[in-house]
Assembly symmetry: C2
Homo-oligomer: 325 residues x 2
């Protein structure tokens, strides 16, 4: 493989000049520039990216932090971010944090040492204090963790409100909510949106709200319990689709007919909701688009050190399928 | 942040000596080594990994190629590989190839330039010829593509045979197969295992085999068609679980009772099979374990340039759930 020295020799210039041409930095006259570029072409020279990153303090590498790629919400986000970064010749690093702050900090330090160019974080645990020494741009995705960090999220509260109002509009008179973990800001915003609609209803009981963990199995169990204690419930707004699949399963095991006796609406719009019988009505997030926007804003911040903080909040869309009347 | 020069100054040695201590290379006497290590500690010095990788030709970075992280088989593999690489302080790079050879080649070249240390590839399109210039270890995962490359796979043919025999043993008399794409070696091996059991049966018809694409939607459609044309079918071995969820959905839309009138068995053991009603009987692959083994073998190959080729083939396990009699 040709080296920078071979290029310099053929073009009859110093390696420093070749370097200036490669990095588009400093003055090189046009005739010399052409000679260097011809030599690069002739020798099929490809600069070593490791050397380049040492020189520039950049690795052409960006990282995405997610709690767990096995949760089916995250592969679509990851795919979107990777599609954008790949298109711009960035290497895509994936980190599973398990919502564990120590793991997040360890990843942050390790990636800084590797001169990562920027980070996209889905995090419920990180705070502004934890990232104050990080010198590269960070985008928070799905969950906001600081007003000083650019973010791409959805309007969770409004989405939850639309979902709950929709259940009312189709005739539900006792509407329950399976909410996500308290540590996740999006989960708490969805709870607020639900409460905005129901808290002044005469029928509202605090036991109509139960806490899930955004996963299938626990949702199945707590829904069975809730519906056994409260057979009057005729509508459930569920904090995410994966838990809503657990709710559907619980209704089948209790022989409750959906949607005839009980209407169910989820949140997220992941593809599993199209595979169930009945298919799942849901508040659809533009998941792929959110990932794309986070990656685009990150690349913008990397290339423009004097960027503004951008906080985008996207709307979610009611998708009516067969789990609601 | 402290630099290598600060460490050298405090320890009263040259930067070359600090480098020898850091990289555990060349002779350094014990007293000097202690002085350097004390200085590193005192200054909280962390070597820049980019400089280290330039020096060593290594990036402490490994990459996993998958067709598409959105296919629910791959997040569990990716999680396993990342868990192992993270434990050994390697950065985990994820590449979505869409089973597109051009994309794979572009990733390979890009990662070589970035001094990637090794690769794990799930690929149906790559051949030995395509990787002959790749100088770092490669492990093929899930699908074998060369006898010269270490691999971690399962015994697909035997697994398919067990699945089909099981359908016979519970009384199925007309057993169909939805197979995966012809380009995937694992899909063709599963087809062979099915044929091993049924091809000499008097009832066997070639129209009992239809080709899917390992996805949900197409499987739903081709199953509806097949079951409408062949209502005598009372058992289906499906090439993967995602397609089996499509088969379940098709039976519901045709009001065929599972398992009373038709038994269904999938392949993979991904978690979606536990969420369906009925739950899905399947041939379970040790998915997480496969990812862990691929990563362990890769790290072994990285650290031992004179390694042997290792080709591990794991067994799959019949998991009886509610979609079979």
């Amino acid at each position: 493989m040709a080296t920078i020295r071979d290029v310099a020799k053929l073009a009859n210039v110093s390696t420093a000049t070749v370097s200036r041409v490669l990095n588009n930095q400093g003055y090189v006259n046009n005739e010399t520039r052409k000679r260097v570029n011809d030599a690069i072409k002739q020798l099929n020279y490809r600069p070593n990216d490791v050397a380049r990153s040492l020189f520039k303090g950049r690795s052409k590498m960006i990282a995405l932090f997610v709690p767990d790629i096995k949760n089916p919400f995250f592969p679509e986000l990851a795919r979107a971010v990777e599609d954008v970064t790949n298109k711009h010749n960035y290497t895509f690093v994936l980190c599973n944090t398990d919502d564990n702050l120590d793991k997040e900090i360890t990843y942050l330090n390790g990636l800084q040492q590797k001169s990562v160019d920027g980070l996209i974080m889905v995090s419920s645990t990180i705070s502004q204090e934890d990232i104050k020494n990080i010198s590269v741009p960070i985008i928070s995705l799905d969950r906001k963790f600081s007003s000083e960090v650019s973010s791409v999220t959805v309007n969770n509260r409004k989405g939850a409100e639309i979902a709950t109002r929709y259940l009312k509009s189709i005739g539900c008179k006792r509407i329950a909510h399976i909410c996500g973990p308290q540590s996740a800001s999006n989960s708490m915003d969805r709870l607020k949106g639900y409460l905005d609609v129901v808290k002044h209803e005469s029928w509202f009981l605090s036991s109509y709200v139960v806490s899930g963990d955004y996963r299938f199995q626990q949702s199945f169990e707590i829904t069975r319990e809730m519906l056994t204690q409260h057979p009057e419930i005729d509508g459930i707004f569920v904090g995410n689709d994966l838990m809503a699949v657990g709710v559907l399963k619980a209704t089948k095991s209790l022989k409750i007919k959906v949607p005839e006796e009980l209407s169910i609406i989820g949140f997220d719009g992941i593809s599993i909701g199209e595979t169930t019988t009945p298919t799942l009505t849901t508040m659809q997030q533009p998941i792929y688009k959110l990932g794309v926007r986070a990656a685009q804003i990150l690349l913008d911040h990397i290339n423009n050190p004097n960027h503004d903080i951008i906080q985008e909040e996207w709307d979610v869309t009611l998708i009516k399928r067969d789990s609601t009347k």
